[in-house]
């Protein structure tokens, strides 16, 4: 655990991970979502960020929020690597929440990580009907156990999804309230 922190710091000092401060106040996420922040977050700035916009408070391996802002029919949650394309689960507009969670599961399992769904229930999200789920993600690379919360909804055939993940010990409890605050403030930009 201490090692992970150390490695992250090394990477930051080396300029590998670039962060930009977002908030407080109104923030637009990938043109299609917005959030109202009471305190600032850090946004991961990288051409390799992929399909999601990624935020963190204490550092990417300690807590992270992935915003998927309007995934369209046929699109994937992760950027396909060469040759991987066919195996990636793709969003279909008529998917039920269970199937969206299955898509998250398979995306997380790509690197050999383990995903376990603990609870899936209806929930308000983005000023409308949606769903909320709680999960565990055992990260393959360091075998750290992360707890996660996701919110999602499908509007006008697009998927809006927000995932929070943090190590079960300490960091989840430390930052979950701030995540829930962000999740409550999410709106869809039309």
């Amino acid at each position: 655990m201490r090692l992970v922190v150390l490695m992250l710091c090394v990477a930051v000092a080396g300029g590998c991970v670039q962060m930009a401060k977002v908030g407080p106040g109104d923030v637009v996420i990938r043109d299609r979502m917005s959030a109202k922040l009471e305190s600032p977050w850090n946004r991961y700035e990288s051409p390799h960020a992929g399909r999601a916009e990624i935020w963190t408070i204490d550092g990417l391996s300690l807590d992270r929020v992935d915003f998927y802002a309007g995934i369209a029919q046929g699109e994937t949650l992760v950027e396909p690597k060469a040759g991987q394309d066919k195996a990636l689960p793709r969003f279909r507009a008529k998917m039920e929440p269970q199937e969206i969670v299955e898509m998250v599961d398979a995306s997380i399992a790509l690197d050999g990580s383990v995903f376990r769904l603990d609870r899936l229930a209806p929930s308000r999200f983005a000023d409308g009907d949606g769903f909320r789920f709680e999960f565990v993600h055992v990260r393959k690379v360091d075998e750290l156990t992360l707890r996660g919360i996701g919110y999602g909804t499908v509007r006008d055939d697009r998927l809006y999804l927000v995932l929070f993940r943090a190590p079960r010990l300490y960091y989840f409890a430390r930052n979950v309230a701030q995540f829930e605050e962000v999740a409550r403030s999410v709106r869809i930009v039309r």
């Binding site: 090692l3 490695m7 040759g83 991987q84 394309d85 066919k86 195996a87 990636l88 689960p89 279909r92 008529k94 039920e96 929440p97 269970q98 199937e99 299955e102 599961d105 398979a106 399992a109 050999g112 383990v114 995903f115 769904l117 603990d118 609870r119 899936l120 229930a121 209806p122 769903f131 055992v138 393959k140 690379v141 360091d142 075998e143 156990t145």
Partner: protein, 389 residues
């Protein structure tokens, strides 16, 4: 040098006595006596120390599949095959839905759960273990260590703690100084002698490759990328060639003798773990390969096809093309007719019916699911569907 030393050290009477029973195919190989631990200051000693450290990580791994019956079964099987080396070998099963097994020079064997899911019987498991044991007994990694190019790769194994990435990957990284083709052929050859010596039908070694090649081909036919979609971890080259070679040698060794398959023994141990292994299989999202595998398992399983049909239906539902939806519905229906269908079957069928607008049927299935599984993790969501109708 090493090979000569191995051949010279044929003072292992126990194995020789057994291998004489082969009759038709005289063995050119004999079990060497147990090895002394290497000097710590030697190259081999350094490699052992690294592997011992890796083994200690592995023992605490979250991905270690802990099942006492399986562990005891594997240990007993290793001892049947490894003879005098038995006390020096430890087998670990890792929860990873791909087909792989590996042997570290210190006697640590890793088997991935995706391999166990794909085997039919004890003879096939013996074939896998015997091949890996052959690498150990022939000290192939020490041979590689003496090779200049692999020394450089070996140096990367000496990196400080933590930088090596995921636990268990170290053995895979050792693939950088992977066994040569010659060593693989040796391991195949010695492996089938070991398994036949322990009374198993060596033709099952070739059968494993036949099954895997068919599965890989099914994946490619379904549009998968041959380079990546393979269930094989690409450590063992030229599977088609090896399959043919193994089949020929195994037939010669087996002759007309009656040799064991041990299908019931194998199923008794692995069957209780099958459900979670199939759940992991679905996560690979290699639908072509998974469909082929499940169809093969259904054909070979006597009873309790309900669970297998359920998983096959799930593959089709998740892939979700028009044909898949129809096929999934048929399979869900068939699974309800067979013994012991899992509660999730009713949820899967309900989801498809719901999306087709057939809400009355869907609601009945959702209710059935909740009756069978009231504590389900998505029970609140299902109840909200029912309330809305």
């Amino acid at each position: 040098m090493r090979r000569r030393a191995v051949l010279a050290g044929c003072a292992c009477a126990g194995f020789l006595a057994r291998s004489n029973a082969f009759g038709q195919a005289p063995s050119t190989w004999a079990m060497p006596p147990r090895f002394a631990p290497p000097e710590l200051a030697s190259d081999e000693g350094g490699l052992w120390a690294v592997m011992d450290r890796e083994e200690n990580r592995l023992k605490r791994s979250a991905f270690l599949l802990k099942d006492q019956a399986l562990s005891e079964y594997l240990a007993a099987l290793v001892c049947r095959l490894a003879g005098t080396h038995c006390p020096d070998i430890r087998v670990y099963v890792m929860r990873t839905p791909w087909f792989n097994a590996s042997m570290a020079p210190n006697g640590m064997v890793q088997i991935w759960s995706g391999l166990l899911l794909r085997l039919d019987n004890e003879a096939q498991l013996a074939a896998i273990l015997a091949h890996e044991l052959a690498h150990y007994i022939s000290r192939h990694s020490l041979e590689r260590l003496r090779d200049a190019r692999s020394r450089a790769a070996f140096a990367t194994l000496m990196l400080p703690f933590g930088l090596l990435g995921a636990i268990g990957q170290l053995a895979a990284m050792a693939g950088k100084f992977a066994f040569t083709r010659e060593q693989e052929r040796d391991a195949d050859r010695i492996g089938i002698e070991l398994m036949a010596g322990a009374g198993y039908d060596p033709r099952q070694a070739a059968e494993i490759w036949t099954q895997l090649l068919a599965e890989v081909k099914a994946g490619e036919d379904a549009g998968g990328d041959p380079a990546r979609s393979s269930v094989l971890f690409a450590t063992h080259p030229e599977p088609a060639e090896r399959e043919a070679d193994l089949r020929e040698r195994a037939s010669a060794i087996a002759g007309t003798r009656e040799l064991a398959l041990g299908a019931d023994e194998y199923q008794r141990i692995v069957r209780p773990l099958r459900r979670s292994m199939l759940e992991d299989e679905l996560r690979r999202r290699r639908s072509g390969e998974s469909i082929h595998l499940l169809q093969r398992l259904i054909t070979k399983s006597g009873d309790e096809r309900g669970e297998l049909r359920y998983f096959l239906a799930e593959v089709h539902r998740q892939r979700g093309s028009d044909n898949d939806v129809q096929r999934a519905l048929e399979l869900y229906d068939a699974a309800t007719q067979s013994g012991n269908p899992p509660p999730e079957l009713f949820r899967g069928r309900a989801l498809l019916r719901w999306q087709q607008g057939d809400r009355v049927v869907a609601v009945a299935d959702f209710q059935r699911y909740l009756e069978l599984s009231p504590q389900a993790n998505d029970a609140d969501l299902i109840r909200s569907y029912l309330k809305g109708n």
